[in-house]
Structure formats: structure tokens, C-alpha cells
């Protein structure tokens, strides 16, 4: 899976807009064939980082490379060696499937000799063999997404950037999509996924979490979950929102949020917090029906890391 030069390298990557530091000395490496997830609240600096890696924006300082090419001096080579696909990626709806593929073949300057072979491959992976003449607009969303992916990798890029790629598709199509990503990574493609959704994050080998321009965590989903030190309590009471209100400024309580009808409370110390929670609820006339410790979800982990790093940027 790994080779001498990692597929993506960021070394103290920094970008400043006026006196605002959008990306602040971010360093990481992505191995060849890895599925690397990039998470963070809105305004955390994810998009700015991706733009620098894609050779669309020069760093203010620091350096980086993608597929072995320097992001500051070889942005043209980078653009030829990466693919990009997002939920909003626009195939041309009024063109046929074949016409869309031909359009992207032209855009990526694919040699004429290889076009037929790549077209057949794209049709195959999209599940559209024999349907090349269908109007793209009329395809179900899952097929459109796989066609968009096929078009984004017609030129066989070594690094593929995905932005919330499976947002809104049904779970079966989503699974097919990730199986397709799996075949690409087995063949050595490196995949860089930016998303707000834990459903997508779960598919990644490693996750990088950004907040306020900084990289605040980087590990496998399992280890990130295991790293959450603060106990998470699940409370059932007669009034969830009032419980959140009553607890969120209580010393020893780090976070209180609704989860379904239950309330999830992250605390510094279970025994002490339990005592103060019980007395605060009694004070406020709230009835505690149950209290138990639960395992943090990936989303709880995300929120805990962002909180530990000073909270989400306020706009």
C-alpha cells in the first residue's frame, strides 16, 4: 500500500487572507491507496486546504506535494494528475451518457486511441453498459453519481478528491459507490474525502479533523473514538430541552445535547458529575428517569475534539 513518496504531503501549510489565518501550519501525509477523510465545522479551513493541494491557491507559507508534484511550482502537473467530484458535480443533464463521457475525455485530453476503452470502462463502473444513449437527466441519482465518478477518473488520476460524494443517495447506491472507490484504491488511487457526514467518514481509513485553521486530530475512526477520555452519560428526563438548559452551565459538564428524546451529557468525571446533575435536576423540578454511561459515537468524538480545541469558529 505504501511507497517512498506519500501521495499527499502537507508541511506547515499556511494560508493568510489579510489578518485572518485560514489555514495555520497544517502538516500531514496521505499514503498511496489510502482513503483519507477531512472533517471540520464550517469555516474550519478545509476548503482552503483542498484548494491549495489542488494547485488552485498558493500557500502563504509552508509546502506541499500531490502525486509527487510541488503545489507551489507544479500546479499544472497536479491538475492533470488529480480528479475531483462533488455532490454538486454537474454532468450535463441534456447530453447523453456517451456525450458526457466524450466531453470529459476531451477536457482531460485523453489520447484518441484510449478513449473507447475508457468510455467502456466508465459505462461499466456506472452500471450503464448498453445505455450510452440515455439522456443523463433521466438517470436515477445513484447512477448519475457513479457516472460522475467515472468521468472524474477517466484520465486515471493518482489522487481523487471527493466532496460529500454520496449525499442524498439511497443506502444501496451508497454502498455500491464505496465498493467502486475500493476497487480504485486497490489499483493504487489515493482518495481524499471532505464531508460533514459521519456516514461517509466511517468509510475512511484515517480521519483528519480541522478547527479554526488547525489540524486538531488525525487517526483511524476506531482510535479517535477510543481517545475520547470524557465519559458520556445518557439521561432520560421528563423534559429534554429544559434538562439541556439546566445542565449546560453546570461545572463538570462539558456538553449537553439532545439525542432523540434522550439527553447526552459529556462530563469530566462520572461520579462527581452524577451527583451534581442529580441535585441540579431536583432544584429545577426535573424528573430523572434513567442515567447510564454510553459509548461515544463518531459524531460525539468530533464534537469533543472541536470543543477541546476551543470550539467551532463563530462564523
Amino acid at each position: 500500500m505504501t511507497q517512498a513518496v506519500p501521495a499527499v504531503v502537507a508541511e506547515s501549510l499556511t494560508r493568510v487572507f489579510g489578518d485572518f489565518v485560514a489555514v495555520d501550519r497544517v502538516s500531514f501525509e496521505v499514503a498511496t491507496g489510502e482513503i483519507f477523510g477531512f472533517l471540520g465545522p464550517n469555516g474550519a479551513g478545509k476548503t482552503t486546504t483542498i484548494k491549495m493541494l489542488a494547485g488552485l491557491l498558493l500557500p502563504s507559507s509552508g509546502r506541499g506535494s500531490v502525486a509527487g508534484f510541488d503545489i507551489a511550482t507544479q500546479s499544472d502537473e497536479i491538475k492533470r494528475n488529480i480528479g475531483y467530484m462533488s455532490q454538486l458535480f454537474s454532468l450535463y443533464g441534456d447530453l447523453t451518457v456517451a456525450e458526457n463521457i466524450a466531453f470529459f475525455s476531451g477536457m482531460y485530453s485523453l489520447p484518441r486511441l484510449r478513449r473507447a476503452e475508457r468510455r467502456d470502462w466508465a459505462l461499466e463502473v456506472a452500471g450503464l453498459a448498453g445505455q450510452a444513449d440515455r439522456i443523463t437527466r433521466d438517470l436515477p441519482l445513484g447512477f448519475k453519481q457513479r457516472l460522475a465518478l467515472g468521468c472524474a477518473v477517466l484520465h486515471e488520476p493518482s489522487v481523487l478528491f471527493l466532496d460529500e460524494p454520496t449525499s442524498g443517495v439511497d443506502p444501496l447506491s451508497r454502498r455500491r459507490f464505496w465498493e467502486l472507490i475500493d476497487t480504485l484504491t486497490e489499483a493504487g488511487t489515493t482518495v481524499f474525502v471532505s464531508t460533514h457526514y459521519m456516514e461517509e467518514a466511517e468509510y475512511c481509513d484515517r480521519l483528519a479533523l480541522m478547527n479554526r485553521g488547525k489540524l486538531i486530530a488525525l487517526d483511524t475512526p476506531a482510535r479517535l473514538r477510543a481517545n475520547v477520555r470524557e465519559p458520556l452519560l445518557e439521561l432520560q428526563t421528563n423534559d429534554g430541552p429544559k434538562t439541556v438548559e439546566a445542565l449546560r452551565d453546570l461545572p463538570g459538564v462539558l456538553e449537553a445535547a439532545m439525542f432523540g428524546r434522550a439527553v447526552h451529557v459529556a462530563v469530566t468525571d462520572r461520579t462527581r458529575a452524577e451527583r451534581s446533575i442529580r441535585s441540579r435536576l431536583t432544584e429545577r423540578g426535573l424528573l430523572l428517569q434513567s442515567l447510564q454511561e454510553v459509548a461515544p459515537s463518531l459524531e460525539d468524538t468530533f464534537v469533543a475534539e472541536v470543543r477541546a480545541a476551543g470550539g467551532a469558529p463563530v462564523d
Binding site: L141, D170, P171, P221, A222, G240, P241
Partner: protein, 308 residues
């Protein structure tokens, strides 16, 4: 139906040309319930909510909200509900406070009640410090929270929210859920649509929608229990290799990756030793295998395959 402050949907249908977007939907939402309409894009979620909000006329069937029919009295429906569409009309060149005032005027909220109402909405939305900011200058998550707050400046009996969490980061999503639950605690009936299966367990009951039809309707726990088979969660070093090995195995219904874990759906928990032996034989020894409740994704996929 006897519960007049809930929602009663009967054979609700909407066609666009030859396409049947919503196909004879029937269900009830009880008063004070937090009800989820869950399905992928194109399932008919938005069309259903637009009909319930009285802004789109059904092709056939009817629905009543707090006893008011969307066919006979769409204007009456609009007065008893709050509806937040995906493109809620915020005024970009008005401030946060001016937007709230605008909607309060529109809904004729008495001046005396406004301050307390807005204060309550600020409590959970964390928008208070930004009340003088132009709505156009807010981030995506804050815009959603302002949209929801505007929809709630009057005291609706029923709240309809179309994909309120779409594109919103997990931090802002928590604020949105808190506002929603505050309404539920006050007795408001709330219907929320989402394409995200992992949000389904937050609802009292869930309607799974696909191609305009109801695949299933129940509490998240009941839906999970009704799944045919058992989900074995397998932890091992190379989950992908294990998936390739197991996905075509005759005893395996489905084998799906969840990050570094493999979810294997089998007929019963008695299959666990077979699965473990297969993995060991292929030199992929599992660290752990345990049976787990099905996720909403498992449920949805099973119902989809049955419906096909």
C-alpha cells in the same frame, strides 16, 4: 381520526406528467410526536411536505392537519403550521433581528409576546450575539437556524421541516435539534424529512419513503427488530479483505464495511462460529465478533429489496 391536532394522511398522491412523485401515501402523525420522513433524494419527501403545508395541490387523496384539510382549506392549513422549506425565504439584506420581526409581522404575533418568544429562540440557536448581522453574511448552519427561528416566531400547532440538517455541520446540527425538541416539549407536532439514515433513530416514529411509496413505518427500535437476520459486527485487521471473502458466501445475506469494522448480516447468531471459521481459514482472524441491533441502513436496504 380522533386525534384532531395531529396529521392524518389518506391516499395522498401527486403526479408530475407521467411521474408519480408520491403514490397513495397513508399514515397518521400523533399530536406531540416527533415524526421522521426518511428516504434518499427523489423519494418524494419534499413533494409530501409541500402538500402537507398546503402549498402544492394533491393529484388525489387528502391530508388534514389539526383537523384542517389541505384540499378543502389550504389557506387554513397555513395558519396552523410552520413550514421550513429547503429554500426558506430569508432576506439577505435584512439583519437577523429584522428578519425575525418581518416574520412576526407576517404571522401577526402580538408585540407583547415577541420579546419573550425571540429570547427563547436565541437561547437555543446561539444567534443572540449576531442579531445585528445581515442574514446574507451568515454561515450555512446559522442561516438554517435563523430560517427555523423565523418559522417559529408564531405559535404553530404543527411544524414541518424539509431537510433542515442538509449541509449543516455537526455542531450547528445540535442547536437545530435542540430548537426542534423545545417545540416538541411544548406539545407541537413535528415532521422532519432527512436523507440521512443515521438521523432516523432520533425520531419517535419513522416513515421510510422510496419512489413515492411507504416502505415501512414504525419506531426505530421496532424497525430494527423486524429485520430478517442478525447483524454480526466483526473487528479485524483487514476488514476489506474479509468483505471480499464473505460477500458472496452462501450463508451471508450481506457483508458491508463500516470504516474498520465489517457488518455481516446472517440468518441467526448461530452463524457466528461459521463466519469465524471462514475468516480463520483465510488467515483473517477476527479480534471480536458480536451481534448488534440492525442500523436503519440495514432496514432500508432490506425493505428496498423486498419492494423491488
Amino acid at each position: 381520526m380522533n386525534d384532531v391536532s395531529g396529521i392524518c394522511v389518506r391516499e395522498l398522491t401527486r403526479r408530475f406528467g407521467d411521474t408519480v412523485a408520491v403514490d397513495a401515501l397513508s399514515f397518521d402523525v400523533h399530536r406531540g410526536e416527533l415524526f421522521g420522513i426518511v428516504g434518499p433524494d427523489g423519494a418524494g419527501k419534499t413533494t409530501t411536505l409541500r402538500m402537507l403545508a398546503g402549498v402544492l395541490r394533491p393529484s388525489a387523496g387528502d391530508a388534514s392537519l389539526a383537523g384542517v384539510s389541505v384540499v378543502a382549506n389550504p389557506e387554513g392549513v397555513k395558519q396552523t403550521i410552520a413550514y421550513m422549506s429547503q429554500r426558506f425565504g430569508l432576506y439577505a439584506d435584512l439583519t437577523v433581528m429584522e428578519n425575525l420581526d418581518f416574520y412576526a409581522d407576517l404571522y401577526r404575533v402580538p408585540k407583547a409576546e415577541r420579546a419573550a418568544r425571540v429570547e427563547r429562540l436565541f437561547e437555543f440557536s446561539n444567534l443572540g450575539p449576531f442579531k445585528d448581522r445581515l442574514a446574507g453574511k451568515l454561515s450555512g448552519g446559522m442561516k438554517q437556524k435563523l430560517g427555523l427561528s423565523c418559522a417559529l416566531v408564531h405559535q404553530p400547532q404543527i411544524l414541518l421541516l424539509d431537510e433542515p440538517t442538509f449541509g449543516v455541520d455537526p455542531i450547528s446540527r445540535r442547536d437545530l435539534w435542540l430548537i426542534v425538541h423545545d417545540m416538541v416539549a411544548q406539545g407541537v407536532t413535528v415532521v422532519v424529512s432527512t436523507a440521512y439514515m443515521d438521523e432516523a433513530e432520533r425520531f419517535d416514529r419513522v416513515a421510510l419513503l422510496y419512489h413515492g411509496r411507504l416502505l415501512a413505518l414504525d419506531t426505530p427500535t421496532a424497525l430494527s427488530k423486524a429485520l430478517h437476520g442478525v447483524v454480526l459486527v466483526v473487528e479485524l485487521a483487514d476488514a476489506r479483505a474479509a468483505q471480499r471473502l464473505l460477500r458472496d458466501h452462501p450463508r451471508v445475506i450481506r457483508a458491508v464495511l463500516f470504516g474498520d469494522q465489517l457488518h455481516v448480516v446472517v440468518a441467526s447468531a448461530h452463524e457466528a462460529p461459521t463466519i469465524e471459521a471462514e475468516l480463520r481459514a483465510a488467515n483473517l482472524p477476527p479480534h471480536r465478533i458480536k451481534a448488534m441491533p440492525a442500523t436503519m441502513e440495514d432496514v432500508f436496504i432490506e425493505r428496498m429489496s423486498e419492494a423491488a
